[in-house]
Each structure stands twice: as structure tokens, then as C-alpha cells.
Amino acid sequence: SSRTFDFSSYHTIDEIYDWMDVLVEDHPNLVSKIQIGQSYENRALYVLKFSTGGWKRPAIWLDTGIHSREWITQATGVWTANKIAKEYGQDPSVTAILDSMDIFLEIVTNPDGFAFTHSSNRLWRKTRSLNAGSRCVGVDPNRNWDAGFGGAGSSSNPCSETYHGPHAHSEREVRAIVDFIHAHGNVKSVISIHSYSQMLLFPYGYRREPTPDHQEMNELAKKAVSDLAAVFGTKYTYGSIANTIYMAGGTTIDWAYDNGVKYSFTLELRDSGRYGFLLPSSQIVPTATETWPALLDIMVHVLEHPY
């Protein structure tokens, strides 16, 4: 059950998918599981929907695990899903958010890659789609979005870890989210979770110019990283992708922002400074715990600043 599930251990895709059903069973009036598509290898793309009713309420989209080897993100997604369900009716902020908005959470955003990290190559980052004319497999799903597609920081070489793919939204895993957010039409925030550089980033990545909302995003990011640091002292930097890390074309949150989702952020979760993608499972709960106030800050801000 969701009470006996071990949140401090890493889990396979089957275990995570089974646990989603348990979470739905435990909170039938709040949580449902929807399928938004299928991966390249025909795995289901599941999204947890947290909703207290209403038709197409304003919504917040969260995703983890788009880069499959970033295991701390899927694990944080599981913990966060449980936290949202548990806190509704208990925590005033979570309750206020869910009384007016829906939250969608895709925990295993790149299921083929994730399954591959468990079976064959723990350090696999990309999708598993075949590339015509190349021996190399997979596309970087965080370079595959139609926002500065093919630009700086992405590669046209299928053997590269940052291969952008043959065309924007070529990856089913990406296309499914694009179609879902377009069809929904009322998504107000997209938060895409990665690891392990300890950053809170916002658009743009494909251009250096600030967005019209730069100042507001910057102030919100500053508050969020400060509240995150208050938990265990983990220090995050923040700013636009292009000015904080590097120019990167075709990223999730640039696409979201360019498609009308103002509050688009990406998190780079923690590393202890020693492990990178191999963060020990003992750090799952601390990582998720410190991330929670930052997520909550963004979600509350979205609730309080309708547009």
C-alpha cells in the first residue's frame, strides 16, 4: 500500500506504475491515473491527476524523469505525488491550490529510457527511438521541443547525448505532452524536474534576451531557492537557462513559455558533490523534502496570480 511503500529506495517502472494504482485506490476522490499516450516501445505514458472536481480548471503540470538516468527525479516524483495526496485537507496551501486548480504529474516521462537504465545501461539519458541511417539510438527529449529547435546546445549527431532528433516533437514521449497541454488549454504552469546541478531555471534557454516576465520569475525563483535552502542548507542558483548554464535550444520550458504557459520552470535537483546521477537512495527523501517548499512556493504563486 502507499503506507508500506519504501520511498527511500529506487524502484523499477513496474513498481512505480503499480504504486500509482495504489495511490489512486487510497485517494479515489482526489487522484486518478490517465494515459496520455504510448512511448516508442509502446509503454504507457501515465499521468497522475490531482483534482477535486470541476471541468478543465486551471492546471499545474509537473514532470520528472525526462532524462532517464536522473533517478533522483523519478523518486522525487513518487514522494511528491504521495505528499500532495496526503496534504490535501491538512496543509492550507495544498488545500487551497487543489480547491481551485488541478495538478498533473508525470513521474516516468521517458519510460523506455528508464526501463533501459534498469536492464542494460544505468547511465542512459535519451529516448530509445531508432535513428534512420545511424547505429546510435535515442533522442534527447529535452532538445526535441519546438522552441529554438536545433539551436545552440543541441546536436545534430544521433550519437550525441544532446541529439535533438529529426524534427521537433519527433519523440512520442514529447508529442504526448504537447498534445495534452494543447488539448487541455488551461495549463498555467509547467515545472520540469532534472538533476543534478542545484538550480532553479526559467526561460529562455534558446535566446539570451530576458522574457517579459523575467523580473517576476526571478523574484519567485529567489524565494523558492531560499525556502529550499532553509530545510537542509542546500544552495541553489537561479536565473534563465541561457544565462545560468548555457544556451540550449528545444527545451521543455521554453516551449511551454512560448505556448502561453507563463510560469515555466525547470529544477535541477541536488547532488552531494560526489555522486552525480548515482546519488545514493538514502538521499531520496532529503532531496524530495527540501524540494517540496520550492514547488509549493511556485504553485501558490500560480494560484495567487491568475492570468
Binding site: S9, Y10, S120, L123, T162, S197
Partner: protein
């Protein structure tokens, strides 16, 4: 199953733009099979790269010949992977 016995992750600090460019050149040399965990972007930011055991000597020589400062972040990737696998196995056993 791909094994990573003896592979190391190096943490490199580039001090200037020219060194960033050199790291990118390193990444483009396919035969070295360098896997950037943190990509080179701006001077002062740490860059992490996993280097297969067979190419460690060549990569370290490259870094030293261009005066990079670096440290070994992970001594043996496979050792960590084995620990991770064991931890998952233990967790499942406890659950049962």
C-alpha cells in the same frame, strides 16, 4: 548489460573560455567516448565527465597538457552501480 568497471567521473574546472572550447573539442572526439554529466558552459562552473577506463590515460593527459585543474569525483563507476543494485535488492527483500 553494459558495465562501467574502472570508469571514472572527473570534475574539471575551466578557468577561461578557451578551456571551455577545448572541453567541447574533447567531447567531439568520438573515439574517447567521453560522457558529459555536466556540460561545459561558462568558466568557473564545474564540468563532470565520465571517462571509460580504457581512455582514462588519454583524457587525463589531454587535461594536464592544457593545464586544467581536475579532481576524481567517482573513482570507479561500477562500484557505485553495484552498491545501488545491492541496495535495491535489499529493499525488495525487506519488503517481502
Amino acid at each position: 548489460e553494459q558495465l562501467f568497471v574502472g570508469d571514472q567521473v572527473l570534475r574539471v574546472t575551466a578557468r577561461k573560455e578557451e578551456q571551455i572550447a577545448l572541453l567541447r573539442v574533447l567531447g567531439e572526439q568520438e573515439e574517447l567516448q567521453v560522457d558529459f554529466w555536466r556540460h561545459p558552459n561558462s568558466p568557473g562552473h564545474p564540468v563532470d565527465l565520465r571517462v571509460p577506463f580504457l581512455n582514462l590515460h588519454g583524457v587525463k593527459k589531454f587535461l594536464e597538457s592544457h593545464n586544467f585543474s581536475y579532481s576524481i569525483m567517482i573513482e570507479d563507476v561500477q562500484e557505485l552501480l553495484d552498491e545501488e543494485k545491492e541496495s535495491m535488492r535489499r529493499s525488495r527483500r525487506v519488503k517481502r
